[in-house]
């Protein structure tokens, strides 16, 4: 069961660097997939840490379904963070709290295409496979909210595209409120219902774009290219340049936008 997230007047400062986030207001409907884009250091990852409760020292409020309650939130990090001494299955078992544990894990490994590797140790997996285990782990307790902190940023362009497609498939199979922090505009466009662009530090919403293109999406779809131009303009506005577009991405073959 997915939850709605309400982020109201949230502000976060660090003693060494001052304010990094906010004031930030954001309403996210249940089961929607929202991507957050913005320059480095604008507080995107901090926002996820505040939502999951890894950092509780902030102003403003974060509500789930309108209440200040403990929601079931899971998170996939930039690196897979698998426990290297546990097999793929054991990594999932560690966090799994469902009654039919083994069945749930089998289903998820099937979903991410790694059933065959359930006994493998993390060191025997490629980067893409390890990140898929991390995605499976994030889904294992059927969370109300799933947070993804640049989960594919360390992967090569081809693997990244495949995992973006996998992510879309997973979200369609199990609609969960998902918040994806990314530097990759194409990734945001292919996967999301909405793209939120944050300003440079301290991060505030400067653009909130709905992506009304049906999934699965063609990366060369003219509507996506148009939206990409709009996002680039927003990022250019906040960053002073259009160079915030990430390093090699899935859309590198697309015509240059804006």
């Amino acid at each position: 069961m997915s939850a709605a997230i309400s982020i109201r007047d949230v502000r976060k400062s660090f003693p060494e660097v001052g304010p990094v986030l906010g004031p930030l207001d954001l309403e996210i409907e249940p089961a929607t997939f929202v991507s957050v884009l913005g320059p480095s250091g604008c507080g995107k990852s901090t926002l996820l840490r505040l939502i999951i409760g890894l950092d509780t020292d902030h102003a403003g409020e974060i509500l789930f379904d309108g209440e200040a309650r403990d929601a079931s939130v899971s998170m996939a990090f930039q690196e897979p963070r698998l426990l290297p001494w546990r097999s793929v299955r054991a990594n999932l078992q560690l966090v799994c709290e469902t009654a039919d544990r083994e069945q749930t894990i089998d289903g998820l490994l099937e979903l991410v295409g790694l059933h065959e590797f359930h006994d493998a140790l993390p060191k025997q997996l490629s980067g893409g496979m390890a990140q898929r285990v991390s995605l499976a782990r994030a889904l294992v307790n059927e969370p109300e909210v799933m947070l993804l902190d640049e989960p594919f940023s360390a992967l090569d362009a081809m693997t990244r595209m495949r995992l973006q497609d996998a992510l879309v498939h997973i979200h369609q199979a199990r609609p969960t409120t998902t918040l994806l922090v990314t530097h990759d505009i194409d990734e945001a466009l292919v996967t999301s219902d909405r793209v939120v662009v944050l300003a440079d530090r301290p991060g505030r919403v400067v653009e909130d774009i709905a992506i009304a293109v049906p999934r699965p999406r063609d990366r060369t779809d003219a509507r996506l290219i148009e939206l990409k131009a709009r996002i680039l303009r927003a990022l250019g506005t906040v960053d002073g340049t259009a160079e915030t577009t990430p390093a090699p991405s899935s859309a590198s073959a697309e015509p240059a936008a804006a």
């Binding site: 899971s74 990090f77 493998a120 782990r137 995992l163």
Partner: protein, 307 residues
């Protein structure tokens, strides 16, 4: 689009068990290389015997030429004869069991105390502040420095010797367990926090396994120390044990007995170390380290290094 077709299942990394089998089976030269590599691997342990054999040769030559005094060094033949005599009349086994039983008790206590206190102070900040400074201060007292106190407190029987071994093994295990726990990757702790794992599960499944390589370093040091301390305590104030047999060899001017016991201690020390190393390899096989690197790969890497 199915998830399986859309992702990179098995494309970049084949199933772990299959890759080596299919990779080396196809080429004759690969067969030859594998055979030669396997022969080299089998011969490798024999390399460890070269130095002892050389020492025995030098020893025999020294005795034969009169360079070494037999009153001090005996001869290799006499040592072998004494070994069989002590082994067959049951003396060696009796003294050995006496020493081993003290080590087993002392090491067991040291291990349990070192592990539990190391985990407690390594994980809990308050316990760290309250306990660790005192433990570190006591660590500065050499193991043999405890002997007078232990004799006064527990007498000259087994209890004081076991306590000495326990103390001597406690410190390396404690220090390494503490360091291993404190060295747990922050990212894994954050992961545990993100998934709200209960504290007991974090300690059991995240912190202790992460610290295990370092803990086992402490255990290995402690095993070596336990032999040293047991022998020293037996030499200084023992009635039974290999240390006593060793000391009798000195006081009764029987160098063959002395050297026999020294060789037995060396073999036992090495054997116990090998057991710990085997456990270490088994429990930390998940690590990607030089230790676990295939010999041929390690050779290729070493060969690429500049002189």
């Amino acid at each position: 689009m199915s998830a399986t077709s859309s992702v990179d299942a098995g494309r970049s990394t084949p199933a772990p068990s299959r890759s080596t089998a299919s990779g080396s089976a196809s080429h004759p030269s690969a067969h030859a290389a594998a055979r030669s590599s396997s022969r080299a691997r089998r011969a490798l342990p024999l390399l460890a015997l070269v130095l002892p054999v050389l020492l025995v040769i030098v020893w025999q030559l020294g005795v034969s030429t009169g360079t070494f005094k037999t009153a001090i060094t005996s001869t290799p033949g006499q040592v072998v004869a004494t070994f069989f005599k002590l082994a067959t009349n049951g003396v060696l086994l009796e003294e050995l069991l006496s020493t081993v039983s003290r080590i087993a008790w002392g090491f067991g206590i040291g291990l349990a105390a070192g592990l539990s206190l190391g985990i407690l102070t390594g994980y809990a900040r308050t316990a760290d502040r309250a306990i660790d400074p005192s433990v570190r201060a006591l660590n500065a007292v050499p193991a043999v420095g405890w002997i007078p106190f232990l004799i006064l407190a527990l007498g000259i029987g087994d209890a004081s010797k076991i306590a000495l071994i326990a103390l001597a093994t406690f410190f390396p295990i404690y220090v390494n367990t503490y360091a291993g726990i404190r060295g747990t990757d922050q990212k894994l702790m954050e992961l545990a926090g993100a998934y709200r794992l209960p504290r007991s599960r974090i300690i059991r499944n995240v912190v202790v396994p992460a610290a295990l390589p370092q803990i086992l370093v402490g255990v290995r040091i402690a095993v070596a120390i336990s032999w040293v301390v047991a022998t020293v305590s037996e030499i200084l104030y023992g009635n039974t044990g290999l240390g006593v047999l060793l000391n009798d060899g000195r006081s009764l001017a029987m160098p063959d007995q002395m050297i026999t016991v020294m060789i037995v201690l060396a073999i036992l020390g090495k054997s116990s170390d090998m057991v710990v190393v085997a456990i270490q390899r088994r429990l930390t096989s998940w690590q990607s380290t030089l230790e676990g690197m295939a010999p041929h790969r390690a050779r290729v890497v070493a060969a690429r290094g500049r002189a």
